[in-house]
Homo-oligomer: 311 residues x 2
């Protein structure tokens, strides 16, 4: 749709699920003349070259960013500050620096202080992903129909926001501009808390003595298996999310726990009406998500209408 | 596989997702000469006849069970005791009475006292389902590759357990025999607690003031949407599950909350190591569930590799 002006040289710092999906989509849509990447892991660099994701792969972040007019930080958010310090002296005059971190205010606080005046910083977050990690896990359609949130700040300008918007729009994303702090609150409830409680229940189940691990696995189709998918997400990425969005996560978690205590009390005292009312209200939200095109309406996400997850 | 001896007359009390799937599968595999159902809802009775699920549909449970050699209670567990009282005088000599309730000890306690001596009671629970409800939601392959737990008790005998096992095996299920109390503990962690926390987080999100409902819906692909699927399950069924498996649910919930408090503390104090260790451990469980054939290995359950949940 958008007639995005191609970038001359796109540099992806990190080459995991998101970066490799950007590389594939940017190639598919002709959004960059040259794509380079940086990774400390020789196996990932070799994979990126073998898969044709990047024309050049660097061990050094500073070397990688030289000459790039778009640099996207695709590392866990916990190291973005250190990366910014590393590359600040090598960023081209007029380059746009962006990122894909799941936390925005923490990234701005960590990155901005290191940047020279001649660079535009446009933080962004694609609301897309899977439970898989690594260069081979990406695919070009990952962002299609998904949201991309841009959180401009003192180091962005209208032109750089517009160029990044065109870049993501061309890859199929829908772009929303938002305040960084608000982004972090929205994502705390739509993403960070769901991941935390999924990790938590899988851990709780793993620790039980009265129910064996093999029973948990065997009977997981009763609901538990949905949680294990989320709890299979990248550990480093998620550790950094929780450490860098602490305030919003703790606030939402307090509300979640308060509400759960009320349900616990309803169960203990046999208050069926409270349970029934909540369980009825939550159905409407599911309907709205399907109507908004943000999930499949197929039963069980369509994964096993035809049998036993053996697809 | 099993050469299941067909039942002469199968009576399904209730005709929702599970009962209608049994009807379809039993027809497909020739497991009953006649199938009848009972439902207090005239629309459901009409639908059951129109869809060919049942040869006859009754408003009265007592009338429905007459002459049946297999009666399966497919109502919410909360009314199974009352249904048993209603039908006890009309059950055929030698009939097998079973059920599909998600709670087993509570059902045994509620049903057994009403049963005459000439009836065999074989409680069972198919670990299968979707978030949809009603006669039209069922499908014949729902039980294929899924587990069916039988919890024999003083009113079962080897022959009735064997016949019910053959019936479910013919529909594609794998049968496991278990003590009722143990079943209730296993299901508390693999099913009841996951449903409770899914309902809970969807409710928490719905109540927020700082994040709007439309934002929650828009950005749900970040993880939240997985929970909304579970939280769209039948409210009456789930209210009854929690009220009838109170002890096991409260015990597992206490452990879950304790573990969550430890994670909360790790986030507050920046203890990344605790987070990283849990997040690494939980990945292995996901792998084991996929290896056991209990879930799809496709990213995002395979629902949107090709785009935006618009499938």
């Amino acid at each position: 749709m958008a007639d995005a002006q191609p970038f001359r040289r796109l540099c992806l710092v990190g080459i995991g699920l998101i970066a490799s999906s950007i590389a594939r989509a940017a190639r598919e849509h002709g959004l960059a003349e040259t794509i380079v990447c940086a990774s400390p892991d020789p196996a990932h660099r070799a994979e990126a070259l073998a898969l044709g994701l990047a024309d050049e792969a660097f061990a050094s972040n500073a070397e990688a960013v030289r000459g790039a007019d778009l640099v996207i930080l695709c590392t866990p958010v916990g190291v973005m500050g250190a990366v910014a310090r590393e590359i600040s002296g090598d960023l081209d005059e007029g380059a746009i620096l962006s990122d894909v971190g799941s936390v925005k205010q923490g990234v701005i606080d960590a990155v901005a202080p290191h940047l020279p005046d001649h660079v535009r910083f446009v933080p962004a977050h694609p609301i897309a992903g899977t439970e898989n990690s690594g260069p081979a896990a990406g695919f070009a359609s990952l962002f299609r129909g998904r949201w991309l949130v841009i959180t401009p700040n003192g180091l962005s300008d209208d032109q750089s926001v517009a160029r990044l918007t065109a870049f993501w729009t061309a890859m199929g994303a829908e772009v929303e501009v938002m305040d960084a702090g608000h982004h972090d609150q929205v994502l705390a409830i739509t993403s960070h808390i769901p991941h935390l409680i999924a990790y938590n229940i899988v851990g709780t189940a793993d620790d039980l003595e009265t129910v064996t691990k093999s029973e948990v696995i065997k009977f997981s189709a009763a609901g538990f298996r949905d949680f294990t998918r989320i709890a299979a997400s990248d550990p480093t990425m998620w550790r950094d999310v929780f450490l860098n969005n602490r305030e919003a996560v703790l606030e939402m978690l307090a509300r979640f726990s308060e509400d759960l205590t009320a349900l616990q009390r309803a169960i203990r005292w046999g208050d069926g009406e409270t349970l029934f009312q909540l369980f009825t209200r939550t159905r409407a939200i599911r309907r709205a998500i399907i109507d908004a095109g943000q999930d499949s309406a197929a039963p069980n996400f369509g994964r096993d209408v035809d049998g036993a997850g053996d697809d």
